[in-house]
Every structure is written in C-alpha cells, then in structure tokens.
C-alpha cells in the first residue's frame, strides 16, 4: 500500500496535501465511534505535506515514506506533541525531544497524523485501562480492539492512517493486530531503538509497525531499525533475505499452543491455514516446547518488577502532572506527601497493581523465590527456543486464544485478561521477532490472527517468509 501511494505521489496523481487531508476526513468521519486517537496533529501535518508537495513539484527525488501519513502510539515521544502514555500522570507532558524512531521517520518525510490510545503505560490487552477512554474494535464496535496498541491497530484497520507505530512488551502489537485484522510486527529485542519509548519493562519492550500488508511492515521496519547511540541494547539487525525453497523450509507447530482454552473456531482456521501452507510444499512438523506454558508466569514476575523500577520516576515533581498542590504554600506540605498523593491519584488501578506486585517480588524475603526464580526460568525458555531453531526455520501458532472479546468482559478478572497474551509472550521473554498475519475470519466475521515466530536477528527473513504466507492465505 505504501508503495502504491508513493507511486501516486511521484506521478502527481495526488498531492501530499490532498492525501493528508483525505486521512483527516476519514478520521473526522470514523473516529467519533472508534475513538482511536488521543491527540491530532492536523496543522503541522498539513504544513509538512506542503513541503513534500514543493519537492515533488520541483521533480526532486522523494523517499518511499515521504508524505506518507501515519499514527503513533502515545507512549512514543513526539517533540512538541502531547505524549500521555494513556496516563493522567502525563496529561500535560510535551516531550522536549523526539524518540529515535520518530526522528528517523521525520528525516524520511513521513507525516504524523496524531497519537493513538493505549492501555495506561501500555499495561493491558484491551485499551480499557486507558486513563482517557476505551477504543473500539472497527470490526464490531461492541468489542475491544485488543491492547495495549489498540488505538494503533484500530487506525490502520479503519484506514485512518497508512500505518501506525506500536510497542510490544508481552504481545501489545500482535494481539491488537490479531483482534483488528491487520499485520503487526514485533522485531527482535534491540533491533529498533527504545530511546524515547516511555519505559514499561525495559528488557522486554520493542517498537514495531502495524500495517495492512507485510510489505508495508518491512518498509517501516527498515526505516526505524538500527543501532542507536542512545540505546545500548540496540544493534544493527542482519539484512539477510530468506532464500530457502519451500521444500527445504521447516515450519514447526508447537502442540502446547493447541490445548484447552483455545477457541474452537480459531483452531479450525489455523488448521486450515496450515493445510494451505502444506499444499504449497512447505514442510510442516509438530514440535514440542514444554516450557512455553510457563512463559506467562515468568512474564508476570519480570514485567511488574521492571515496571515498579521504571515508574518510580513519576514523583509529581517532573513531567508536569497538575495537582492541587501546585499553587499551595510549599511550607505547608512535605515531599513525602506529594509523592504519595500524586502517585495514588494519577496512576490508574492496573498500574498501581503492577507497581505493588513488582515491589513485592523484588522485596526482601521474596526476591529469591519470585524474581530470581523467574530469571532462571527465563534463561531456560530462551535455551528451549534456541534448540528449536536448530531444527526448524519458523514456528507457527495462533496469535490469541480467543476472538476479540466484548467491552467489559474481562475487566474484573486479572488472570483471564492476562491470558490474552499467553501465545505472544514467549517471543518477548526470549527476545524473538514475531509477526501477526491475517489467518482468516470467524463465522460472525471477526478476524483471526496467525503468528509466525523466528530466531533472534532474522527479522528480514521472517518478513520475507511472511510475504509468501500472506499470499498463500489470500
């Protein structure tokens, strides 16, 4: 889709200003119901589009992303554009700098339409934890779009943006992509700089694209990937293409992902997809990943531990949360009260829960039993995946155990909500690249996602292979 729009721009079939204007028209028309955007960037976007048009008029060469309008999850810093992370804690936060991914896309001339809704600080699987409002699934407005990048997935599905950026800590790109029926790509940990991503769990967080096609995901990924001096965990990802013939390619299907709790319709659709893939001469083998059922438990120790440390910075002094104390005589207060009151008032319920859980698993007497245990299990899970990729090229699974659920259906029971991530979280624990593709549709026309996981640092091979699978499943 990006390539086609690019062609239209350089052939002068459409101007960038028209293009951006058209997207804002779509937003005006649809976003009242879907509620995907937290902030719009209309004025600046139109100005930037004019600049692109000037270049095109002068027949200057433009980048493939130049003039392409996109949406950004609101936990990625955009200089001068309000960035809330879906939290009241950051309701007035205007970042003084751009995230590295934004800077890179800016240099290429891509145009930000606005910032998209998410579960507060990316903690959730439905956007119902947003401090502002809940985004709805464009396929069925009574259902959740998934989360935490629910706003980004919804904008792409309803064509309110050409592509969107999201972040994935336990499935937050792939799960909403599956629920909305779009492509969602989580790169290898470190392949994309985290500089300027509001930190949730730093050893798991990755930024990635949500798009309508795999080709688009690849274009965006190429633009944002790379080593960054400002993120010491970033590295230059290998640019190898996937060259094996279908009959040489081994796809592993882990039996642990096809158990009780998996929706029957999803199971059928994924099985059908596997049949089609087999019919195209790919080798499909049943494999076993005995530790994969433990990934979610491992995640729910490591993630809150990192959350409790990362969110300690929100102290009421920085990042401008307006509070009743602002205009009081400071001598009538003390610093301690300011901390307790600001954090109690401005963090939502789920965020507070995770901070407390993280504080618990890191505290004296529990550190060994919980945190250290989880870090040991994490190493074992990573080893299991390493061994798996000695035998297979890719691993194929359903992306989610259920179809998009109804608004309010899972808000009261934390475990049932957390289980939404059961199939996606392994890739975060192990740092692996993984993608959600459209697997098919249920009887009542809800999208079903298919996940492909690859070895660390083989992002381009995964994308190349996914293009083939996308064509097969069309």
């Amino acid at each position: 889709m990006i390539f086609e729009i690019h062609q239209k721009l350089i052939n002068k079939e459409i101007t960038a200003t028209q293009l951006v204007g058209d997207y804002f028209k779509e937003i005006d028309k649809k976003d009242g119901e879907i509620k995907a955007f937290l902030t719009l960037n209309k004025e600046k976007a139109l100005k930037e589009a004019e600049q692109v048009d000037k270049k095109i008029a002068k027949n200057e060469t433009i980048d493939i992303l130049e003039g392409i309008p996109y949406a950004v999850k609101d936990n990625i810093l955009t200089k001068g554009i309000k960035t809330t992370a879906g939290s009241k804690m950051l309701e007035n936060y205007f970042p003084p700098f751009d995230a590295t991914v934004i800077e890179k896309l800016k240099r290429k001339g891509a145009i930000i339409l606005g910032k998209t809704n998410l579960d507060e600080f990316a903690m959730g699987s439905s956007t119902e934890n947003s401090g502002y409002f809940t985004t709805r699934n464009p396929n069925d407005l009574e259902r959740v779009p998934g989360g935490s990048s629910g706003g980004s997935a919804a904008t792409v599905k309803s064509q309110m943006a050409v592509f969107a950026l999201g972040s994935d800590t336990g499935g937050s790109i792939r799960q909403p992509a599956a629920f909305c029926g779009v492509v969602g790509f989580k790169p290898t940990y470190g392949a994309v700089s985290r500089f300027g991503l509001i930190a949730m769990a730093s050893s798991l967080d990755v930024i990635g694209p949500l798009t309508l096609t795999v080709e688009d995901a690849q274009i965006v990924f190429e633009a944002i990937a790379g080593k960054d001096i400002n993120d010491s965990t970033s590295f230059e990802v290998k640019k190898e293409k996937f060259q094996k013939k279908p009959e040489e390619t081994v796809i592993g299907v882990p039996k642990e992902f096809f158990v009780k709790g998996l929706d029957k319709e999803i199971e059928e659709i994924i099985s059908k997809a596997i049949q089609k893939i087999k019919a195209n001469n790919f080798k499909v083998e049943e494999i076993s990943l005995p530790l994969s059922p433990y990934s979610l438990a491992c995640y729910y120790i490591i993630m809150p531990a990192e959350v409790s440390a990362n969110l300690a910075r929100y102290d009421g002094i920085r990042y401008s949360p307006r509070s009743d104390f602002q205009n009081q005589n400071l001598d009538s207060l003390n610093l301690r009260d300011l901390y307790f009151k600001t954090r109690g008032e401005k963090f939502g319920r789920e965020v507070r829960k995770r901070i407390i859980l993280g504080t618990y698993v890191l505290s004296r007497g529990y550190y060994e039993a919980f945190y250290k245990k989880a870090q040991k299990v994490r190493r074992l899970i990573i080893k299991e995946w390493e061994e798996t990729f000695k035998k297979v090229d890719f691993v194929l699974t359903p992306t989610t155990p259920t179809l998009p659920f109804f608004l309010g259906e899972k808000t009261e029971d934390p475990i049932s909500m957390y289980l939404s991530d059961i199939f996606t979280v392994s890739a975060n624990i192990s740092g692996l690249p993984a993608i959600n593709l459209r697997g098919g549709f249920s009887k009542n026309n809800l999208p079903v996602g298919l996940q492909i996981i690859a070895n660390r640092n083989s992002d381009f091979q995964l994308l190349e292979f996914s293009k083939t699978i996308e064509t097969i499943l069309k």
């Binding site: 940990y189 001598d331 507070r352």
Partner: protein
C-alpha cells in the same frame, strides 16, 4: 494478602490508595501470585539467572557532553512542578 503487607508495599512504592480498594487489590494479588507460583514446577538448580533482555555486554561510550541544549532545558523547566530562579522548587523534605 494481608492489609498489613499491602500497606508496607505501598510505603515502599510511595503510593497511597483508598481503603475500599484494598480488598479487591488483595484478591487480585493473591490470584496472580498463585498463578505465577507454577514456576516452582520447574527445576532451576545450577541455572544462572538472566539479566536484561539481550546477550550484549559492556556497551560503553565516552562520557562527554555532546552539545549544549538550551532549548530543551527550557521545555524541561516547563514540565516541572514549580520553578524558582532556574531551579526546581519542591516542598520541604522533612
């Protein structure tokens, strides 16, 4: 989880919550902790715990200032709780 324990954790994390929220919080924490305790089914003796999310190590650079950032520092000040004479102003510590 006992309220006493929850209060201790709130103290450590510098956060207050309403009394009526504690019952549900306690139940939620119980159910999460019981779920994660299934990790005890896995034998992990002699296993070195992971640290961080990658296998990179010792990534260091020269610690030198890159450039002056007067413009950024101005925005940072706008984000402060309160500013007095170019300094952050905070309530008394004690």
């Amino acid at each position: 989880m006992e309220f006493e324990e929850i209060n201790h954790l709130l103290e450590l994390s510098r956060m207050e919550i309403k009394e009526e929220e504690k019952e549900k919080l306690s139940q939620d924490l119980e159910s999460i902790l019981s779920y994660v305790s299934k990790l005890n089914e896995i034998q992990t003796e002699e296993i070195e715990p992971m640290t961080g999310g990658s296998f990179l190590s010792n990534i260091v650079r020269e610690d030198e200032p890159e450039k002056e950032i007067p413009e950024d520092s101005k925005t940072l000040k706008e984000m402060a709780f309160r500013i007095k004479d170019d300094y952050f102003e905070i309530p008394p510590i004690f």
